[in-house]
């Protein structure tokens, strides 16, 4: 994972978000407040606009800057959570280096853990973590098994998709949808959907 891969990923993520405008918007309208697409779009755009100033930096510095930028750009619940993810990842990449798939996996897990701590949430609460935790676990497992990048990306896409779909039948206990009780059932969590889209977009870059 070099810096240019991160920047390419940012482009791919932006595309994925923009292409799912109406889906992301209606998910947050249904069980939230309708701003999730706008928030994600604003965040993605800010990162893409930063590319010139990021290109020359080391991967951990890039990840950290992305985190800081998201923190001051997105707002809402998704802002500090996604920011935490990148800052958590940056820390591990800085420590473990950015050469092995195992270090990527542990950086990803660290990012997800930071989200978990910040949001005080866990699996099954109908949030983005229902995508991120299974993906982190599988990433770690596959990396330990020395799976190929291609195998890993295929597997993670599937897991992200399953995690995203799993939120549909849950009652939310964290986030804005927690007020809804039974009425949240039948709706996919918007943050879970955007995380799944982002994971898919990045995995698609790995062939």
């Amino acid at each position: 994972m070099n810096s240019s891969f991160i920047l390419t990923s940012a482009d791919a993520i932006q595309d994925a978000i923009l292409q799912h405008e109406s889906e992301l918007e209606s998910l947050d309208r249904a069980i939230g407040d309708g701003d999730h697409y706008i928030n994600m779009k604003r965040g993605a755009q800010a990162i893409v606009e930063m590319q010139p100033e990021l290109a020359a930096l080391t991967p951990d510095a890039v990840l950290n800057k992305i985190g800081m930028k998201l923190l001051s750009t997105i707002g809402g619940a998704s802002g500090p959570l996604l920011a935490s993810f990148f800052m958590g990842m940056a820390k591990v990449i800085k420590e473990k280096g950015n050469t092995s798939i195992t270090s990527y996996a542990s950086a990803f897990s660290a990012g997800v853990d930071t989200i978990r701590q910040r949001g005080k949430a866990d699996l099954g609460e109908k949030t983005m973590l229902d995508v991120l935790i299974p993906v982190a676990n599988q990433f770690t497992a596959l990396a330990a098994q020395n799976a190929s990048a291609k195998e890993i990306s295929t597997a993670l896409k599937l897991t992200a998709e399953q995690g995203m779909l799993s939120t549909k039948d849950l009652i939310a206990t964290k986030g804005r949808a927690a007020g809804l009780g039974e009425r949240a059932i039948g709706h996919i969590d918007p943050g879970a959907k955007s995380c799944q889209l982002m994971i898919e977009a990045v995995c698609n870059l790995i062939q």
């Binding site: 923190l71 802002g79 804005r176 007020g179």
Partner: protein
Amino acid sequence: MKKFINKTDDILTESLSGFALAHHDLVSLNLNPNYLTRKQKATSKVAIISGGGSGHEPLHAGYIGYGMLDAACPGHVFTSPTPDQMLAAAEAVHADKGILFIVKNYAGDVMNFEMAAEMLPFESATVLTSDDCAVINSTYTTGRRGVAGTVIVEKCVGSLAETGADLQACKALGDKVNSRIASMGVALTSCTVPAAGRPTFDIDDTELEMGVGIHGEPGRRRETMREADTIVTDVVTAILDALKPASGSEALLLINGFGATPLMELYLIYNTATRLFNEHGIKISRSLVGNYTTALDMAGASVTLCLLDDEIKQHWDSPVHTAALRWGA
């Protein structure tokens, strides 16, 4: 969507600029990061900072001024502000006695203010407001939402801070006031987030949303539209269930419009709610009726009851001079 706007991206800046122009004697506006402070910086007091997504005007900028807030951080429409705003605002208004954040209990607001507090070079404390009893509290959830009762918390804490009270005392009063408030709202129409361009939820001409949130979040249930008295009865019952006030309690009653509800209807609700609370032995000795915590252009209203004691009464009655609440000054 028909609104008085130019480009959706510019609404916030243009509206904040208009606010700062109209109230130039009271507030100063900083753009990028966005925050507003009192024109006259206060000295030697706990600095009270609130903030949250925009679209709830006059919350929070309308409550900046003597006896209430020192600064407010407006986020994008319905999106919590970001920590850099709170940090810059805190830097601007810090007056040697620490910072008290007043934050409505939403995951986004809580996390953004929390991160700001962690980065802050000053002592700080946070009062979370959580008066919306539409959300049934449960140990598994993040709890109730902060809605119109926030105004009462900001007023009382702001009053205490003016006396030079310390951070812990201000936080303690905020927590106490919050614990004595319950609110519930009803929507007749949806709001429309400008950037989304269409209503957040669909609602029929024969329906109402009971327990709606101030961002148009779905409430307890969708119901058939009925006459005001039975709607208000349900809301009052929910509030009584939440607060379980002793007969003989004295209270402040706030009837809050969500943005598109005529005053005439708000006063009609006030009339019914007062009668119902009186029937339960509650004496309404303070009132506030109007658009104090809105949800853009939503038609609807919320009822807020705050149980008073001498301390809260004193801080509610004390002088306040802000764009949206003013008395004794």
